[in-house]
Symmetry: C3
């Protein structure tokens, strides 16, 4: 691989995001495969502590981190409950970053948010190494493809275009009736904070200013308090639950030193409707 193709395809930076844990040999084997292809590739662990087979948790983590990395970065994601089944394997480009993983929605939120994604179905016959295992596509398929992208192989040479990759529900709120914005809870973090799909640019203008008049509906509950800091003193009486702009750019439902998810009785996928209140 010459410098010219490297310039086209990647920067030689690969991030790894899996549910493999860090006690076993799995992650190291993937890294060995990548460095054996090109030892100049820089590797960054995003996390390997995604709960086993939790596609949504991995999709959220990828969504929250991928755009911090420079253009050309290859994001390798292996959370793959369907390994061994006929699920597809894909590689994609969106917003100048590359993505490699199973076609189960785990790449979906990042691709949907960046927009204009180009998705290719991997030609597994070509990429699987000669004596692959039935159970470790992370090492035998996805790592070699990520290394190839990082070393400059053009995306379109990895396989054939795929027009209908598996997607989760959209990671951004969509316009509803009466000026409402309809989102979902994307993720509940370890503290019980509920990360919604509502972003600043999908909110009514009256809800963006210094004195927002925001109303959120989650199931039967209504939240009217928007805090700037977790510990901010506010007059809210929404059972202690308030909204706050989280560090991933989404509106979160939170509770000071308590679990908002437990207090609201909600989880990922729950519908959240934002509107401006009178």
């Amino acid at each position: 691989v010459g410098d010219a193709s490297r310039g086209r395809g990647g920067t030689g930076l690969v991030t790894l995001l899996t549910d493999f844990g860090t006690a076993d040999y799995f992650v190291a084997a993937m890294k060995g495969v990548i460095l054996a292809r090109d030892r100049g590739i820089v590797l960054v662990d995003v996390t390997h502590e995604i709960p086993p087979q939790d596609v949504r948790a991995a999709a959220f983590t990828l969504l929250a981190t991928h755009a911090e990395f420079p253009r050309g970065t290859v994001h390798l994601v292996v959370v793959d409950p369907g390994v061994g089944s006929p699920r597809l394997a894909i590689a994609a480009e969106a917003g100048g970053r590359f993505f490699v993983g199973p076609d189960n929605g785990v790449l979906g939120w990042a691709l949907q948010r960046a927009k204009g994604a180009r998705v290719f179905r991997l030609d597994e016959e070509r990429w699987l190494r000669s004596a692959p295992s039935a159970t470790f596509h992370g090492r035998d398929l996805f790592a070699p493809v990520a290394a190839a992208l990082a070393a400059g192989t053009p995306l379109e040479r990895l396989g054939t275009p795929l027009s209908d990759p598996v997607l989760l529900e959209p990671p951004f709120a969509i316009a509803g009736e009466h000026g409402d914005w309809i989102g979902t809870i994307l993720h509940v973090d370890r503290f019980g904070n509920c990360v919604t799909s509502i972003t600043r640019d999908t909110l009514p203008p009256s809800a963006r200013g210094p004195q927002p008049r925001l109303r959120l509906r989650v199931g039967e509950r209504e939240i009217r308090t928007l805090r700037r800091y977790f510990a901010e003193e506010t007059a809210g009486s929404d059972g202690g639950v308030f909204a706050i702009w989280g560090s991933a750019g989404f509106l979160e439902l939170a509770c000071f030193r308590a679990s908002a998810a437990a207090r609201l009785g909600v989880g990922p996928g729950e519908r959240v409707v934002a509107s401006s209140r009178p």
Copy 2:
């Protein structure tokens, strides 16, 4: 950034020390920010498993590791119970290494030990990225500053000199009366070993030789046994607690296969007085 300024400011090596854990997206987001600034920067995790908001534990870990790294290394430390409060953010240089973090003492032991530290208050207005979060200064302030230092930005351009950074008690024993040396317990490790601030060069000469005549007082207890190895057979009768030179260069109070901290009923901050016995 040219080679000249790189030579002045850093070696392009950044270590990360936080209480963020490794399951969430926080550490990866910081790394993305640094690599987006300069993908040639080498990143090394010290640990992200500091107990939440335990400033002293992070200060000790930094003290025990920073000098192993080459000169020019930038040590990025984010254990920040006061994020959102008016605590300052600082960058510093001492002993040829750079340090970035909140001004809450977490950098203090490393700075005090290296001596001759130059400390600057960060000009937050300038460094905070355009749409910062209220809760994630690690990504939005400290990581960009660490990347700038690693890429060669001179320390003095980061902000204004600060003469009175927040400090913890000194990380070295000080001379007392009658030839005593007065130290404290800096850290209790996971095995219950108590790392004191007593170093070889702050001990009376009679306590340094092959047959040291050392006496340590901790509260009501007195320890007279100094072992060379954990399992060494010694005649001591100090309730099983002995002193030993630990790998971080400090005298430790230890107990073979038991917790010295529990046996002594002591914790971080406890006063330890060393003297030579007759």
Copy 3:
């Protein structure tokens, strides 16, 4: 160190495999020492979560990962129950990769499998840093040696040849009578899967084809089912235990969603005999 010697001795890639955990300062101190020698060395963590002092678990992890890394890689392994005792410290080369660690068998399986290993006893007097600790040879002896190898120091300059390093039982099956192959359980993973030392090339030809006629004996038990996938439907009636080719290249004894080790009542070191059945 010039380019010429670098080309001879290593590629500047060091992997780390220990039982130190990731919460303490130990791993970072080792990395600092290596980067202080040559900050161009690339570091890769294999794992630091080997159960404390479990030499066999580390030996297996090294066996399962070392050959994925490019030739010239230095594998640094510190699982060292005997630190402080007169056990030797060694460095070795096998299959184009380098190995550094204590002489307690932890390197043995990788060396035995690669064959043709050259083993040297480290000249500790020369490599131990000036003020070493009695308890941290990872930082004070093994890390400097690994850095030297990665920076190009020829292996034979590290010490003197050693003809009888400590070895565990062989990591491959050996031919028995009547066409049997005799192996052992090398490792029981976190799911209770039993990794045996039986590889494809140590099996009778009749057991390798698409319809293998394999019989495994473990203690009083006999296993006749070989699955291609964990969830594959098979007619076996071996108490739910089946054989499967694992991703490390070994035959494993497994049980779908249960612990084969518990079901069989076996652990590491247990003898496994493979034969073809009529």
